[in-house]
Every structure is written in C-alpha cells, then in structure tokens.
C-alpha cells in the first residue's frame, strides 16, 4: 500500500483526527467505488459477454469502469471463463501483479466452481481455489447487466473498507496477498 494510506490512520490521535479520518474514509471510498478499473482479461465465453458490457448497449464506462490492459493499473479482475489448470499459474501471477487494493469477480459458472466442466481433468473447479474471490456471479454466461450488478455489489463491499481497520477488502489483502500466495 502506498505511503499515504500506511500513515493516514495515525492522524486519529490528533485533535479532530477521528472526524478527519472519517472524512478521508468516505472520500477514499468514493474515489474507489467511482473508478473501478478492470483488467482486460478474458478466458472463455464469459469474456464475450464482458466485452458486450463494455460495448454501446450496456456501456460499462458509465460507472467509471475503464478497462486497462496491464495488471499494474487495474483494480479488479473479472475472471471471465473457465480456468484450466494450465492457465492457473498465469492467473495467480497476474493477480500478484495487481496493486493493492485489488478485487476479484468470478464471472460465470466455470469460474465459480467449474460449471459444465465440473468433472474435467483439466479444469480448476472454481477460481477461488487459487485466488481469493470477492463476488461470485452465477450465469453461463451471465448477462452484461449481471456483471454490472456484480460491480455494484463490489462497490457496496468497497464502501465498508476503512483506512484504520484492514485497508484491503479481505483479511487476506490486509495481510498483503503477495506474501500469502
């Protein structure tokens, strides 16, 4: 985490610090929820619906969702599609490359738990076996609106984040995901 967030919680001891902290919390959360930048990263069928969500009919950009090609500039990863075992290591690697705070949306049945390939020898049965998932989105593939709804739910989750208690969305992220995986 950046130097600002690491030290921001110290202002609470100052007079009026609690108020300032609460204000900065709401400001930070506003900024985070308003600008959710996903990684342009698709695996299979759901990726096409993800692309449709960026396209004119649904226009994800209305919510400030602006795809970035490199994990270094992304906040959220849509795991859109089947995670095969060959792809599992690259996914973990991409997840590690994303800067904190980072979030994962498992989109579609395959990413949730293997979906139609639940008995395949080559498929990871759910992306939550390799990286922590914040929001599960059922559907095969989900409609683009459903993906937007997942982002809305993720924003709800982000709003509960505070500077003081665990900066990340999950305890894992508070502990620094790069060390854990």
């Amino acid at each position: 985490m950046g130097i600002v967030l690491d030290n921001l919680s110290k202002i609470e001891s100052l007079p009026g610090g609690g108020l300032a902290l609460a204000t900065s919390d709401s400001l930070i959360n506003w900024a985070r929820t308003s600008s959710v930048w996903p990684l342009t990263f698709g695996l299979a069928c759901c990726a096409i619906e993800m692309m449709a969500a960026y396209a004119s009919r649904f226009d994800f950009e209305r919510m400030g969702v602006f795809p970035r090609p490199t994990p270094r500039q992304a906040d959220v990863m849509f795991v859109a599609g089947t995670v095969s075992k060959k792809m599992a290591d690259p996914i973990i690697r991409i997840y590690k490359q994303m800067p904190e705070p980072k979030f994962v949306i498992a989109m579609g049945g395959c990413a949730n738990c293997g979906g139609p390939f639940y008995d395949s020898y080559a498929v990871v049965k759910g992306v939550d076996r390799i990286i922590p998932v914040d929001v599960y989105l059922p559907g095969c593939p989900p409609r683009p609106e459903a993906l937007m709804y997942a982002v809305i739910k993720l924003q709800e989750k982000m709003r509960k984040m505070t500077v003081k208690g665990g900066l990340g969305a999950t305890p894992l992220q508070a502990a620094g995901s790069r060390k854990l995986i």
């Binding site: 396209a55 004119s56 009919r57 792809m87 390939f117």
Partner: protein, 378 residues
C-alpha cells in the same frame, strides 16, 4: 558483410512471451516470439490454456447433455457448433429433421455467422488500434443477441439446435424483427467499409501481410475464410451441402492474395451473403408448405440411443470446416466424439507465417485468422 559469430547474433535476439494474458490474443493463446529488434524470427504458438477436456466429457454425457458442451466450443458461434453436433448425431442415429426446422437452422446459423463475423470485425479493428469499429460491431451484434434471446432464451450460448430439429418454433413477431435488423444491417456494411476497409492506414497494415499461398493453405488444412482468402473455392455449404443450403442462392467470396486484408474482406463480404441467405430463409418460412410448429423430428427421446456405428458430419462454421466425428457403441453416451475445430487447425499455420514479420504484424495476422480459443483448446 563480415561473418558474424553465432553468439553475436544471439545477443541481438529477444524472447517475448506474447500472452496468455495479452489484450490481442483473443483469449489465452501464448506465442513464444523470438525477435530481432521489431522483426520476428521465430514464432511458436502454444495452445492449451483453455483446455477443458471436452472430448473426454462427451463420453460421460448423454447425447442431449453433450449438446450443452458444444455451445462452449466456439462460443462466438454457438449455433454452428450445435448444428454440427446435431448433424453428426442425426447421421449416426438416422434421424431426419423436419424441413421447417432445417430452414430455421440455416437462418439461425446465418444470423450467428453475422454475429461471429461482427465480433471478428470489432476485435480485428481493436488489434489494429481502432476502437470505434469494435463498438459499432457490437452495437449491431446486440440486435442479433436480442433476436437469439427471443428465439431460444440464450444470448450467447444458444442450445437452440437440438438433435432432431430445433428446440422451439419462431416466436410471434420474430420474423418482423429479424427483417428489421437485416434491412438495417445491410447499409451498415457500407459504413464499416468506409470506416475501416477504405482507411489507408488499415490497408497499409493488412495488405501484403501474412500471405498464405493457396497450396500452403490447402496443405495446412485451413478452412473457412482463411482458406478462401487464398483463392481456394472450398465452402462446405457448396461442396457438401447440408440442411437446405442446396436450395439457397448465394456466392462464396474469394480472395486473391491470401493476405490479412483478403481474409478480413472475405468475412465482410460473407456477411452480405449471409444477409441474402437469411432473407431467402425468411421468405421460405413464410411460405405455406412449411407447417408452423413442426420443428422436431418424431420419436427423438431425451435419452437417445444411437445404434453402434461411426459417422462424420461437417459444416461451414464461421471459422471454417467444423466437423464432428462420432462413434457409438449403442449406449446412451457417445463412445467417442472428436471435434475438428477449424480454429485449431487454422492457428497451426502461425508457426510458418509469423517468421519475418514485424511485432505489429503478429497482431494483424493473429487477428485475421480469427481464432476462438474455446475451439482451439477444447
């Protein structure tokens, strides 16, 4: 030129891992590129990042359950995969779909071809750096998605074509909507041409890049627009007609040079032909000789048992010659189901044509092959 030592040559080379997460690999393809400056001296495609063991799974599904898996093969043109699978199983079990169902199949598969080529058009434009055509393509594609949603309930994965026919007849008001779309779409093709095909930058980036000669294309077993762009007139719809394609009046667009632009433009012209076929189907469906509602062959049960035997059926999917090789031992499951994925065979030629091109051309060539990794890796 003085003779350079091998080590000196090596020092100038760089190894680039293109993918699996890369904006323009259309999924999770990995190309191991060895480059010298900007020039590729070796390109080695590495597939399997979406390998799901589909052929193994077919053996553990009934025939009707297996259909659901075919949707996920080439997910951009799901109806084609459904149709190919159904043709194979019908051949195996000796089922004949009613005529109305066959017309609807052709109509649905042509609509899906348009949708699939639109995705190609959009993503190819993005590969070339133009973002707007992508959104225009998806704008029109959304209308097809609506039509499919109305038809079968699925936007992307349709499961519409079933063994023995189609799952349901056309809903009320569908034909009007379909005509409305087709009439809107036909002039749109001209806009696309103006926007992208006519653009000098686009032409300079695609013309003469990634040339595949006709005999190389045949030898590599390429199919679909990739083969036809090289000037080989091979379209399963004409060469081995299935459903009612024999009654349809359309031409097969052919390219001359076999470069990226021809591959691109073949698909653009194919969309126009698809519109024509769709109009013909709509006219035929409005005719009196096809009984509305009769879209399923009699006596096809959910627990289909095909007699022991082997059958191969192929059809022209939007990416090429899609074949299903089905083996039955008389049980409820296919004994063996092999998918001849056109993308899988088309992508193999990358190792030959990538040599000597620029890094920017890698993207163009890859985009012009229009592969879908679901079908490559299965």
């Amino acid at each position: 030129m003085t003779k350079e030592t091998p080590t000196a040559i090596k020092a100038d080379q760089m190894f680039i891992n293109f993918g699996p997460q890369h904006p323009s690999t259309h999924g999770v393809l990995r190309i191991a590129l060895t480059v010298e400056g900007e020039v590729v001296i070796k390109g080695d495609p590495d597939v399997g990042f979406l390998h799901r063991g589909m052929e193994k799974l077919f053996e553990a599904r009934t025939y009707s359950q297996g259909l659901i898996l075919t949707d996920r093969l080439d997910y951009i043109s799901a109806t084609h995969n459904n149709l190919g699978y159904c043709l194979a199983v019908e051949k195996l079990a000796g089922i004949q779909a009613p005529l109305r169902a066959q017309y609807i199949r052709v109509l649905a598969s042509e609509l899906n071809r348009i949708a699939s080529h639109l995705v190609f058009f959009g993503t190819f434009a993005v590969d070339m750096g133009a973002f707007t055509p992508f959104l225009y393509a998806f704008r029109e594609r959304e209308m097809i998605m609506d039509l499919f949603e109305m038809l079968c309930g699925g936007r992307l994965l349709h499961s519409y074509v079933r063994v023995g026919g189609v799952s349901a007849d056309l809903p009320a008001g569908w034909t009007e909507k379909c005509r409305e779309f087709l009439k809107f779409f036909k002039p749109m093709l001209k806009d696309y041409d103006t926007l992208l095909s006519g653009n000098p930058i686009f032409r300079s980036r695609t013309g003469g890049v990634g040339v595949i000669s006709a005999d190389r294309a045949v030898s590599w077993g390429l199919s679909g627009p990739v083969l036809r762009a090289s000037g080989v007139n091979y379209d399963v719809r004409k060469a081995d007609p299935y459903c009612v394609y024999a009654k349809m009046n359309f031409t097969v667009p052919l390219g001359k040079n076999g470069d990226c632009f021809d591959r691109y433009y073949c698909r653009m012209l194919e969309m126009g032909q698809s519109v024509e076929i769709a109009f013909q189907c709509l006219d035929a469906l409005a005719g009196a000789e096809l009984t509305p509602g009769e879209v399923m062959a009699k006596g096809v049960s959910k627990m289909l048992k095909a007699p022991a035997g082997q059958a191969y059926a192929h059809m022209e999917a939007s990416r090429g010659d899609l074949g299903f090789f089905a083996v039955s031992d008389g049980g409820l499951n296919p004994y063996r189901m092999h998918v001849r994925g056109p993308s899988f065979i088309n992508v193999a030629i990358l190792q030959e044509i990538l040599v000597g091109c620029k890094i920017a051309d890698v993207v163009a060539i890859l985009g012009s092959l229009d592969i879908v990794l679901g079908e490559v890796d299965r």
